[in-house]
């Protein structure tokens, strides 16, 4: 048991690693602050475009969304990170992560919001238009607010996934939480820093997991 604690919960190692773990945590939070708003903005754009039923809009849109949903995010990230320099473009690890996350997460947010928009009865749009609101006003003030409310559990769930996904940035050497933990582990030959990182992720995300599980059960029970 002592050996187990010395291996996985080594206080000294964790204390020594805590400054770089904290740096990693800030980088992770910064990444979330960039990736989530970018993804939501792109998702709103994709969802609003999906209202146009014209085949010239509809099919490219479906192809775009399915393409980026089919692509594992890590593959996309490595492709951008390893491929762009060959094309003569150097934007650094953070830029690559931002682009990869934008392409991937906006497709997911877009699909969720599209489902939300489709759940709003046509009559709402007709009523809004007949009171004199323009199409854009109807979308912004009538359709989107209700659509967001209807798919709120899915939006929260996807945001949670995005936060967890930031850990793949460690693969392209962006010094976020997991990357720093692995650095500390390889220097100390002790896995405690990774355990510490796992605990940080858990404490950070657990409240959202709880919230989500209540939202989801409510949503199923309402059917």
């Amino acid at each position: 048991m002592d050996e187990f604690i010395a291996t996985f919960f080594n206080v000294e190692v964790i204390r020594a690693a805590s400054p770089i773990l904290l740096q990693g945590l800030w980088m992770t939070l910064l990444l979330v602050l960039v990736a989530v708003p970018l993804g939501i903005a792109g998702g709103v754009l994709l969802a609003v475009l999906s209202v146009f039923r014209h085949p010239a809009v509809r099919w490219p849109l479906i192809a775009w969304v399915d393409f980026f949903r089919a692509f594992p995010p890590l593959v996309l990230l490595v492709f951008i990170y390893a491929g762009l320099p060959f094309a003569g473009i150097e934007i650094g690890a953070f830029g690559c992560v931002a682009i990869g996350f934008f392409l991937n997460t906006s497709s997911y947010y877009g699909e969720i919001l599209r489902a939300g928009i489709e759940s709003i009865p046509r009559g709402q749009v007709e009523a809004a238009r007949s009171t004199g609101l323009s199409a854009a006003q109807t979308m912004t003030w009538v359709v989107l607010p209700q659509a967001v409310r209807n798919v709120l559990p899915d939006l929260v769930s996807n945001t949670l996934e995005v936060v967890k996904l930031t850990s793949i940035a460690s693969v392209v050497a962006l010094p976020e939480l997991l990357f720093q933990a692995r650095q500390a582990q390889s220097v100390t030959y002790n896995p405690s820093p990774i355990v510490a990182a796992a605990i940080i992720y858990f404490l950070l995300l657990w409240p959202f997991v709880r919230l989500l599980s209540r939202l989801e059960h409510k949503a199923v029970a309402r059917r």
Binding site: P191, L205, V209, A221
Partner: protein
Amino acid sequence: MDSWDRFVFTFFNAQVMATYLPRIVEGFFLTVQLALLIVISGLALGLLLAVVRSFGIRPLNWLIIFLVDLFRALPPLVIIVLIYFGLPSLGAAPSGFVSTWISLTLVLAAFAEEIVWGGILAVPKGQWEAARSTGLGFATTLTHVVLPQALRLSIPPLTNRTIAITKGTALGSVVAVAEILSVASGAVGFSSNPSPLTLGAIAYLILFVPVVAFGRWVETRFAWKR
């Protein structure tokens, strides 16, 4: 060489692609193998946990809820890294393949338990009471009355979640599993040309575009009319 030729030479270099195609194909089948193992064991474990939870044994349920929350909150890559780099200190040294398999199984099981449990909760209480009053036992009611309805409710979210988690097989590249991504990025290093990655990307599309399309179909096919 104009810029178009350079682009083709860089990203679609036929010679480089031909050299590494066989290895990418091997990686492709390893990915399929890993994904199938994860889907089978993850769904089975998740279903089992949901069934155990429906027996309502308090301490056991708290444990299940904690484990489910834990594996829903932790990033899969963190779990993989923890198992691969952590367990050897205890004397057990799982390979990258086994580490990835175990990690993603636990993650999928956690999500599947939550989804199936949500389905079980959604079956009205009257169904339980009616079944029990016709003389069916608890287990028979669960397997013959409640679960069939609960599973039908669970299929669309379960399909989407399963697809999302199987895409995580690419994470195995971090712990030296010779799946598509790791073969491809290794080849980029050898050939100083990103064409193997293009090949890898195509391999992933061949694998997952049909799966995503299938998920879309399942979603409409099993949609409940509200």
